[in-house]
Amino acid sequence: MKERIVTILEQFGLFFLFWMRSLGSVFRRPFRVRLILEQMERIGVESVPIIGLSSLAIGMIFSLQMVQLLQPFRAEIAVGTAVAVTLARELAPIITTLMLIGKNGSAMAAELGTMRVTEQIDAMETMSVDPIHFLTVPRVMACIVMFPMLTLMANVVGVFGAWVVAVWAMEVESATYLEQMFTVLRARDVLQGMLKAAVMGYMTAIICTFYGYHAENGAQGVGEASTKAVVSSSVAILVADYVMAMIFWG
């Protein structure tokens, strides 16, 4: 038990040092714009189909359930509002982040882990190239920018999916549906959701690169690093989401 506590404290200490080093590296030259753009393409552009599909499905399912729940009370006109506000505040950032953790977070941990166990990170150190500056910073920057962008897209696609189901399948009146939605939904809701996504993107990048950077014991260690990265970042962003929800809307 005592050993386990010491190991956990060591991990926290190691993570704290890694976090501080990465923070210090963000503003240090050289600024590797090409690497940041490459990561933005991998994390952002290449994730458009999966985020689009998942947010469309969430919007449609949510709308279907809400219409069925609210119809007995003749309140189905409020479905658009409920879907749009919930998506903007909670669902879009959470769904986007969880999907990106599965798609890109695990890949970050596996890529850096493989680089660690095949001495590629050591090779950078021998050349006095700071691996955290070279490998972590572009991923962190790309996540901070692309997570909110994809969240915004998830909002639009999800709202569209909800509108399609409500208006076309459940015959809710479109004009009133939209008017009600735009009356209640505020730009602040969308922007705060995007801010949450940026924070969760930052956390995802730091946690996943941390586990990859410290991988050991060959292929098995890389697999373990990926699993730990996905589990830890998923739990961390859910906790952070609750804290931010309390701050913004509590």
């Binding site: 890529e111 493989t114 680089m115 095949t118 001495e119 590629q120 050591d122 090779a123 150190e125 021998t126 050349m127 006095s128 190239v129 070279f134």
Partner: protein, 249 residues
């Protein structure tokens, strides 16, 4: 004064003592080989030479600079004098051969001219006998080719010292011989000081000016190949006899 001087180097990881007082002088322009059994701390020793690991005790000098007491800018400067050829080559998977060799030019020396970079990459590939593979990915190369590209990457910045970590491990005898010849060419043609870690005792006797035998975290025997061959140290004798008996078989 020696080019690299190591004095009483100690290093432990947790309760495991890896180096227990290693002292060694590495002379300029020579091939110095460090041999020993697995787990005797040979790679750990290398990482101390360029300041990646800090010793628990002991000192290392590169010329007049004490590596073990150097601040970060000094360490960065010291490392520009070293090249490191890794056991598994450690080529960056995400980059082509040309990008791998150009990496230290761009990141260490700050060369931004594309034509100049391409020319220097081409020259290095010609020198290691692998012209025209610029666009290949590391995954498309054989083990021997990867090692040679790793050497090219280490050489492209024109260092003074090249560290070879197990250069022939995992290669068949013919390819191993090619890599040993490459070590000699690096030393003779480019006039670089070479430090080699190896299990290949036969090759080490053939190519080295000096051999240090690392055993239980200490240099058990050091000297010219002839001096080491005459050593009466039991582990050294066993190591030598086993290696040369295999040769006779």
């Amino acid at each position: 004064m020696s080019m690299i001087r190591v004095e009483n180097l100690h290093k432990s990881f947790g309760s495991t003592e890896i180096l227990r007082g290693v002292s060694l002088d590495i002379e300029e322009g020579q091939i110095t080989t460090i041999i020993g059994q697995s787990g005797t701390g040979k790679s750990v020793f290398f990482k101390h030479l360029i300041g990646i690991l800090k010793p628990d005790q002991g000192r290392i000098w590169f010329h007049d600079t004490e590596v073990t007491a150097a601040d970060t800018p000094t360490l960065v400067e010291v490392r520009t004098h070293f090249g490191y050829a890794f056991q598994g080559a450690a080529l960056f998977d995400s980059m082509s051969v040309a990008e791998n060799i150009a990496f230290p030019l761009r990141e260490v020396l700050g060369v931004t001219d594309r034509k100049d970079t391409a020319r220097r990459v081409g020259e290095m590939l010609d020198w290691i006998g692998l012209p025209g593979i610029e666009k290949k990915r590391p995954a498309e190369l054989s083990g021997g080719m990867r090692k040679r590209v790793g050497v090219a990457r280490a050489l492209v910045t024109k260092p003074d010292v090249l560290l070879f970590d197990e250069p022939t491990t995992g290669l068949d005898p013919v390819l191993g011989e090619t890599i040993n010849d490459l070590v000699v060419r690096v030393n003779k043609e480019l006039e670089l000081t070479c430090v080699v870690i190896t299990h290949d005792i036969q090759a080490s006797f053939r190519i080295s000016d000096k051999i240090a035998f690392l055993h239980e975290g200490l240099v058990a025997v050091e000297g010219t190949p002839k001096e080491v061959a005459r050593s009466t140290h039991p582990i050294v004798r066993k190591f030598i006899e086993n290696s040369f008996n295999e040769l006779e078989v």
